[in-house]
């Protein structure tokens, strides 16, 4: 409850001087500054952010638009891990994070711009959004700096992004399968409204192409990034294309679902079918067989997203687009292709 006025009175100086002293301006006597600092400490003064924000138009607050902050994203720890990274970097730079509560029906009544202006956030980090999310379009027309996760848009100066090198990751995964002798490799993708899906499909095709294996449309099915979706997709794939010996899944969660489907069909992993996932979620190392997958450094992505955004806000010249390396992690769900018995 102690305000800047109290400090000023106690220290025998004006409010202006207190403000300038505490904010490190240089037109205040070192001795005065010391006294003011002392009084402030003693009184336990700390500035009211609302007042400061009101006048300075800067809040040292980042808005988080996480459309994936829902119950069903609980199984993959991706969002959470990114959140940890953002939180750490924000803490280092003394920024705070506010979670924007957006439900689909709320989005209809409140525009992106209104949301940001209201809360007075300096910048925004968006993640888990579909390419057709209305907020994405709105964001492009707003002037608030924004860093996107997994959505590569390079159209504007105040927008940055960070994402994993999905093409490379997918290529490594599929190449790994090819090197183990697989020739009929299916893919379970997410959905069309995700940049990562497009890129991972691209990597899949490139890997096939480089080894002279023709791409077959019917070898790829969408699983919507969910465990059940993956299960259904695997079921469809394996029943309609019995020649498949391996499946590359665009997410570990879908791979987990695929594992179930394969088991239900009475086949073994990796003896009959090899499975490879993407993300390296926690469950991937605990499931049986442990999942071969492509690791994304989720923590680092969050960290860099926050770092990039703050750099932009503070006018530092930094690369706005970051592509993180993906890393193949070979575990037990992939093996050599079974010998053909025909």
């Amino acid at each position: 409850m102690t305000t800047i006025k109290d400090v000023a009175r106690q220290a025998g100086v004006s409010v202006t001087t207190v403000s300038r002293a505490l904010n490190g301006h240089d037109d205040v006597n070192p001795e005065t500054r010391r006294r003011i600092q002392e009084v402030a400490d003693q009184l336990g003064y700390s500035p009211n952010i609302a007042a400061r924000t009101l006048v300075s138009k800067r809040s040292r607050t980042l808005g988080l638009l996480l459309s994936a902050l829902t119950r069903n994203s609980v199984k993959d720890n991706i969002v959470f891990e990114m959140l940890c990274g953002m939180n750490d970097r924000a803490a280092e730079l003394e920024y705070d994070l506010v979670l924007f509560n957006t439900t689909p029906q709320k989005q209809r009544q409140k525009s992106y711009k209104a949301l940001c202006k209201e809360r007075g956030v300096d910048g925004v980090i968006m993640m888990g959004m579909r390419l057709d999310d209305p907020y994405l379009e709105e964001m492009l027309h707003a002037s608030i700096p924004c860093v996107l996760i997994d959505i590569p848009i390079e159209r504007k100066k105040n927008i940055g992004y960070v994402m994993t090198d999905n093409v490379q990751g997918a290529m490594e995964a599929v190449t790994h399968l090819i090197e183990r002798g697989h020739r009929h490799i299916g893919m379970i993708n997410g959905h069309a409204q995700a940049a990562v899906s497009i890129q991972r499909l691209d990597g899949y095709r490139q890997a096939l192409g480089r080894h002279g294996i023709p791409f077959a449309d019917r070898y790829v099915e969408d699983g919507g990034f969910s465990e059940d979706g993956g299960k259904d997709a695997a079921y469809r794939l394996l029943t309609s294309c019995p020649e498949l010996t391996a499946i590359f899944c665009a997410s570990d969660l879908m791979a987990l679902g695929a594992l179930q489907a394969i088991r239900a069909l009475g086949k073994r992993v990796p003896e009959d079918i090899s499975i490879i996932g993407f993300d390296n979620i926690v469950a991937a190392q605990y499931c049986t067989p442990a999942l071969t997958t492509v690791n994304q450094d989720k923590y680092q992505m969050g960290y860099i997203a926050a770092a990039t955004l703050i750099d932009m806000l503070e006018g530092r010249q930094v690369p706005r687009y970051r592509k993180m390396p993906a890393e193949l992690i070979v575990r037990a769900s992939t093996g050599p292709a079974p010998v053909r018995q025909n």
Copy 2:
């Protein structure tokens, strides 16, 4: 950028009237209100939260003190799941969540009260804190409403808590083991500075007592709630007490570690040793053998924490202390006690 003044001018009324109209006060003509609303919509007006907070002293913002928001808490999705629950309830009631960035060294320089006052949060949710965390003590002397997760303190009117019925949960777990014939049951606990550890130990002792099994001090070891800690504790326990046929772990993560230790010792789960965990984290259902555990409704805990806090803030009379039922989930890591070969 459009302010209340713009709306007032455009609608031909005073600023006061716009404010009262938009905030639903009753001394404004329905027709006027409609017109104001229309103008506001058309101009895309939304109130500046900083200004509102400044004058009204209420920010509709909840502070989250999550000392567990760190990289190593990534494996258990507990925090995240609770976060989802809080986020959902906060969204329903139009509150926003701000993550407090507290690192240990930051805590030294900034008091709890300063943190809250600065950010102008109306209330706080604390979780993952040790009983000896300095903020906990500070919080008790502050006047800001607070809801604690997993820390039962009933000393003040502006403090509430929500936690699982750990005694009941632990009893069910241990009783389950006893019913399967186990008589030498060890326990891997967390650490002394956690209320849940105290309660789960209590439940363990009670279950033993009810079945006339004496409690042995050397049967319980602390694992610090970490996977490695659980592994070490299991190792110590099994080497120094070879008569053990089952271990109750105060967390799934420690149980996962115990599984490793047992495997390293060349024993089988559940044939030689039964293992039971606590929390029901995601990995528990994917590991092999799938972990028998005690489920906590983490989402619901977060949801209720936010709900309770907001109810308190808005002066609603509600129970401030909530104990959630725990539920035993039997999977594959527990089995009948092996027949004694002596």
